[in-house]
């Protein structure tokens, strides 16, 4: 248990460090989009603490801006999918009947498609825009929340505690508050951290293959695409966005670990 708490502390620490980086980055006052071709691919130095990319843009400023984008994006997409999925899952378990069958069928259909393909399909409607990207990722992620919420709720609803509450005249609101939520909430919270991690990697992976965020928008995935050809000259420049993705997802996953029982 103590080890688990340590892990979670470490996770929270990592996330705080990434968040701090995102917030403190702009303080050094360089526009992440400002080019200076005479200072391309410079190693870390006084003017550019983390060096520059192939167009002479400041890497610290770009990584920090990317952190805000990736982090904010991941939280938003996870929030939307968690909200939708949990709500629909609880609804399906409580209502049963055709509503449950319909939602289950929908969940199966969504899961039958590779998540990346789904996001690419949605993004194709408006290339380069962020809203379809949010929607696409949320559309791929809600299914997990739906299944967890629906299955947990269904098993709780079969318990004698629920029968007793119904016999005493309590309605769905009471069941939700007193019986379903205490069981579902911790699972959803755990899943939320994992989903946020998935959102970060998904967006980065999409940007890397040229879907979603596009240059010159400072996004970790698209930065990696841009810097890939200069791997030999400036390996650090390519490594940094990859490292940030790694640390963010690791932090989220460590945070998701929780005590059992």
């Amino acid at each position: 248990m103590i080890r688990l708490r340590k892990k979670r502390l470490l996770g929270a620490g990592l996330l705080a460090a990434v968040a701090g980086f995102a917030l403190l980055g702009p303080l050094h006052g360089i526009d992440p989009l400002r080019q200076d071709l005479s200072a391309a691919l410079q190693p870390p130095g006084a003017a550019h603490p983390l060096g520059t990319d192939h167009l002479g843009r400041d890497l610290l400023a770009r990584l920090a801006a990317g952190a805000r984008l990736s982090f904010g994006f991941a939280l938003l997409a996870a929030l939307v999918s968690a909200g939708t999925g949990t709500l629909l899952g609880l609804l399906a378990a409580l209502r049963g009947g055709w509503a449950e069958r319909l939602l289950l069928g929908l969940a199966d259909a969504v899961q039958a498609l590779p998540a990346l393909l789904l996001v690419v399909l949605v993004t194709a409607f408006a290339p380069g825009e962020f809203l379809p990207l949010y929607l696409g990722v949320a559309l791929a992620l809600w299914v997990d929340f739906f299944r967890i919420a629906r299955n947990t709720a269904a098993s709780v609803l079969a318990r004698p505690q629920v029968e007793a509450a119904r016999l005493l005249g309590f309605g769905p609101g009471h069941l939700l508050r007193r019986h379903l939520w205490p069981e579902v909430a911790p699972l959803v919270a755990t899943l939320f951290a994992f989903a946020a991690g998935t959102a970060v990697t998904t967006v980065a992976a999409l940007a890397f293959i040229g879907v979603g965020a596009r240059p010159p928008v400072p996004e970790w995935g698209s930065m990696m695409t841009e810097l890939l050809p200069y791997y030999a000259e400036a390996p650090l420049a390519l490594l940094l966005p990859a490292l940030l993705i790694f640390l963010t997802v690791l932090g989220l996953h460590l945070l998701a670990g929780r005590e059992r029982g």
Binding site: E163, A164, A165, L167, G169, H174, R178, H179, P182
Partner: protein
């Protein structure tokens, strides 16, 4: 060969849990520790076995065949398990490996404990199962056997280890009367075969079956000791007297009340479960003021019938009609496991407030009922798991009574409670029937209880079926 317990006391951080107790256990003569939850009888057995919970210490002497167990290192004591001291598990069907055939579970004791060859182990365990009347059951899995059969498999495995001292902790917990008699006879046979037998129970009937000597325990002390059945025939201590009087067979019969308006009428009820018919063509009516009992063996569909009458379950055939005058929440239920009726995270008082709000009830009604049901107001601040089973069951009764039910269904509501608590709860239910003219439906595996309280007894089920 003997077990001598000399001034054994058990201390915890909060003081003495077991005051010095002494007794001698000889082969062939069972010793029964009789008492309720919290009386210290299980602690005593744990001290003999060497499995006291951490933080507790035992003083005095426990001498087995000339060896003082308390002076031995934990490792050396563990080496005695199975070979010299064996414990028959509570609820054996939970202790057996569900994925292993019955015979294999007995054989492995011979192979692993006594290092016998597979062929020899097979032969010995077959003979053992044969003797316990399980000749055909060796190839079956625990879930294909009845509760009583599983208990015999566990006994065969325990026996195979060949320990001279056998400890049985509540061996009849959850068994109906017929199975209890079988279990008692099996244990007595173990003693007669020359083993030392120590049985822990709150079941007076089992003590009577076993014979030998008994120690009656109360609040961490031995209050009475003597040979059976003499001790039960002429108890000296007031507590022993009450414990014996708490046996349902000795309860005074409830006086039947005149039947009032009908509440539920069932006609031609049929219910199947797992491909087997529980009952069919059953007609049954319950009216105000009536006490009805559904009795019968485990797994016979008693609870299902009660749930059908409450409308919690649909019949496969037939109909259940609820009278028009009965309020929407006029049928209430008490559960076998009191915890099953409560939201686990919610404080009892808070749950009560929600119930009052939901039905627009006067808070004074609950305040009046609390002392009536012997519930301290301080309990309202606790969560369900933080009060005793008896208290929680009374709280469930309070909640049900607030809704002025026409019919209360007590589904084995006292079968997990100590005898005195059971008697108390049933008495409260009887008073509620008399005061409110409500109907009571009791589901029980104890025929004596059914006959003592009910004007109308329905018996379900015939032969023995898998799983108790």
């Amino acid at each position: 060969m003997a077990l001598i317990v000399d001034n054994l006391a058990i201390h915890g951080s909060e003081g003495v849990l077991l005051r010095p107790a002494s007794f001698t256990l000889q082969p062939g003569r069972p010793l029964v520790l009789l008492g309720e939850t919290g009386s210290g009888k299980s602690l005593l057995a744990q001290a003999v076995m060497g499995v006291l919970p951490p933080g507790l210490t035992a003083t005095g002497r426990i001498v087995l065949d000339g060896q003082n167990l308390l002076a031995m290192a934990p490792r050396a004591r563990r080496a005695l398990w199975g070979r010299r001291i064996a414990m028959l598990p509570q609820e054996p069907w939970a202790a057996l490996d569900p994925s292993m055939r019955a015979a294999a579970q007995v054989e492995e004791v011979d192979r692993l404990v006594h290092r016998r060859s597979a062929a020899e182990a097979r032969q010995r365990s077959a003979a053992r199962l044969d003797r316990l009347g399980l000749a055909g059951a060796g190839r079956r899995y625990p879930f294909q056997l009845s509760g009583g059969m599983n208990q015999r498999v566990a006994l065969a495995a325990t026996e195979a280890a060949g320990a001279g001292l056998l400890i049985a902790d509540e061996p009849t917990k959850g068994l109906d009367a017929a199975l209890r008699d079988t279990a008692g006879a099996l244990l007595r046979a173990e003693a007669e075969a020359g083993r030392m037998l120590l049985v822990i129970t709150h079941d007076v009937a089992l003590a009577r079956l076993l014979g030998g000597d008994a120690l009656v325990m109360l609040a961490g002390a031995v209050i009475e000791a003597g040979p059976l059945p003499g001790l039960l025939a002429a108890p000296r201590h007031d507590y022993t007297r009450r414990l014996i009087a708490a046996e349902p067979a000795r309860w005074p019969r409830w006086t039947p009340r005149p039947a009032g308006r009908p509440i539920v009428e069932a006609a031609g009820l049929r219910k199947r479960l797992g491909g087997q018919e529980l009952f069919g063509g059953l007609d049954l009516g319950i009216a105000e003021g009536q006490v009805t009992a559904i009795a019968g063996r485990s797994g016979g569909g008693k609870t299902s019938l009660g749930n059908l009458l409450l409308g919690l379950l649909r019949p496969d055939a037939g109909s259940v009609r609820r009278a028009g005058w009965v309020a929407p929440f006029g049928l209430q239920k008490l559960y076998q496991d009191p915890l099953a009726g409560f939201a686990p995270q919610q404080r009892l008082g808070h749950g009560l407030q929600e119930l009052q709000r939901r039905h627009g009830l006067d808070a004074a009604a609950a305040q009046r009922l609390l002392p009536r049901l012997k519930l301290a107001p301080a309990l309202l601040a606790r969560r369900p798991a933080e009060v005793s089973g008896g208290e929680l069951q009374r709280f469930g009764l309070l909640r049900a009574l607030l809704l002025a039910p026409a019919l209360l269904f007590a589904d084995e509501a006292t079968s997990r409670l100590d005898p005195l608590t059971q008697q108390e709860i049933m008495a409260l239910l009887g008073e509620s029937v008399a005061e409110r003219n409500m109907a009571l439906l009791v589901v029980t595996h104890e025929t004596a209880l059914a006959e003592a309280v009910a004007g109308q007894v329905i018996r379900l089920g015939g032969g023995e079926r898998a799983m108790a």
